[in-house]
Symmetry: C3
């Protein structure tokens, strides 16, 4: 059922992160800055947070990937994201967007759509509700309320990915990664991840690190999600409540190596 | 000595939070955003942090309770708090204010007083010095420096609560909750809580979650403090230093159930 | 090899922090606010974070030390740092600057230099690349790329310290503290510290706490670094991965006492 070639490549990607320690530039929300920085370090990457208009372009130029996350957005921060994003596009640096709360308020939905319009985003990652809120008006993509199964979510994701011409990642009990009609499903993960704030945001930055070392965004995203989900599974072996679990997640991200990821990845092509 | 009816209701409140997962909208300080979000998740509630002027009203409208915390305030943030607070008042959504550092600088004291004046606050929670700094000029409420016992603090709190016409919570070795002459004392807690940053702010958000499911602010506050203090006691069973203690607190918030809270709550009516 | 007088004074400093609980005012970055506040509490100091123009001077006046950290700077925040710094200078309150990322972007380098020019900084702490980026144009101080040993770094640090007329701390495998030709080397520490975000920033705030109780910045910095590095060593006795390690660090900061520090400090004069 699970694809061994993809699992093997996931392990190779992780080794490459540890060998090259890519700089990941984050313009992200206040809630998760500390935890996502620690997750990137545990993964082997090198995090930097910088959001001032005066420096985002310069900082992005140094990075292997750019993470844009609107979790505690203001218009100032979104402007900085656009500036950084345009520079990343010029330099060919991959960008992942996390449209936190898109669909919940107009500012969030509009800002996420603006970013997609003004910047060429490599990957968008969110939950089903956030990602599907990005459909343009008049889109034929089904809304999240009309989805009753993973299969229906997959159809909606494939359709929206074509519409936006970008790789979409919808995380949930099963994670979906799709682009160009291709779709992968990642089965790693653990329910305690839902009790730690910013788990989704952390999945996003891990994908960022994988994008820095793997040119195929679909492959890189699936690999990152398998790794992140596997860390949740390892953490749950010892931790039974969310405090110790969030700390055990960081330990597992650090401890899992390329071979362990290859063996534990459950990616369905 | 301890009130069994109040303890029972505390347990029911906690069960109701887990059943309904109320959204708690936080406009709060940078230091505690991550920890308070994790505490709300462990409690069973659903946290969101949002502060942009363009969206706070819309976000508050979706929430079961609003938390205002001035720990790292600027005038911009206070303006957003006023906007969100007014919307919450229109919608009948309960509001808890944490006047962090009120009394220490003019900006903090003035901002806390402005919030109380322009917004109908349901509960104010702080330490004795912060809460008593809210007395209007010419108030007869005793200042914190003149308090030499819990009884004197209780008298001052009752007096100030009448003056401000709002529920006041003063946390300390014993927590006081008062409104309309009624006063409850909560005896749960542990001294290691003083070595974790934002413990007070975390008590505030937990009260926020309880306000979302219990219409009596005095009862809801006492229940929340018993729950939070009990989590500190449980954490101290295994943790002897503040690092492991802060993590064990999150575990305990998650692990304590309605029945455990009913048995462990030490609320004095 | 290690100086016993310095080790003894380190222990005395730590005892003094616990006796006097100095207030440390931080204008710092979003990533580390929570962790550094917890580290200060574990150390026995009393942290406050405040950055609004309207209150920084008032807040600084209450403090025993001021920490300036440009990790997520904007021009607004740097202006606040200058205001607070000038007030600290008037009051004779020691200031430590952490020039995070200086050398990486123009905004960071310029802001760090501006702070050093407009404010009398007591101590600057960074890694070799950050600290050496502070050399003025035309400086004879060697750049970081030309350093191939701790001895060469020491020579460059001594030279730059003379040029800037301030105590410089360069942290790394061995920490250097220098002023007026004097140089101390601190050998405490553990490699897992590099896998926790903001370890450098945390070293900075700990130095801040020691500056509040010890008038000699060179001595205070060396003492703080020995204490902080020793906490890393203690943490590594039980923790083998960065999640549990960061928590064990906080525990160790709390658990180490004056006598333990005196015995464990490895400061070379």
């Amino acid at each position: 059922m699970y694809d061994q070639t993809l699992a093997k490549r996931a392990g190779q990607d992780l080794n490459r992160i540890r060998d090259t320690k890519p700089l990941v530039h984050n313009i992200t929300n206040f809630v998760v800055m500390n935890y996502t920085a620690n997750a990137l370090l545990a993964c082997g990457a090198s995090p930097v947070m910088a959001h001032a208009r005066e420096e985002v372009e310069e900082m992005t130029s140094l990075a292997g990937a750019l993470v844009l996350n609107i979790g505690t957005l203001t218009p100032y921060w979104v402007d900085s994201m656009v500036k950084a994003g345009k520079r990343a596009n010029e330099k060919g640096i991959p960008i992942i967007l996390d449209p936190v709360g898109s669909g919940a308020t107009r500012l969030r939905t509009d800002s996420a759509k603006r970013l997609i319009q003004e910047v060429e985003i490599t990957v968008v990652r969110g939950n089903a509700s956030e990602v599907l809120s990005l459909a343009q008006e008049g889109s034929k993509t089904k809304g999240v309320d009309s989805l009753h199964s993973v299969d229906e979510a997959a159809d909606a994701a494939i359709s929206l990915s074509r519409e936006l011409d970008t790789t979409l990642v919808i995380t949930g009990e099963v994670d979906l990664v799709t682009y160009g009609g291709r779709i992968y499903m990642v089965h790693n993960g653990h329910e305690l991840m839902g009790y730690v704030t910013g788990t989704g945001c952390t999945a996003t930055v891990i994908i960022g690190a994988f994008l820095a070392v793997d040119e195929d965004p679909v492959q890189a995203s699936a690999a990152a999600l398998a790794y992140f989900g596997l860390a949740g599974e390892k953490a749950a072996e010892s931790a039974k409540a969310p405090g110790t679990f969030q700390i055990a997640m960081l330990d597992a991200l650090y401890t899992i190596d390329g071979k362990g990821l290859e063996e534990g990845a459950r990616i369905q092509a």
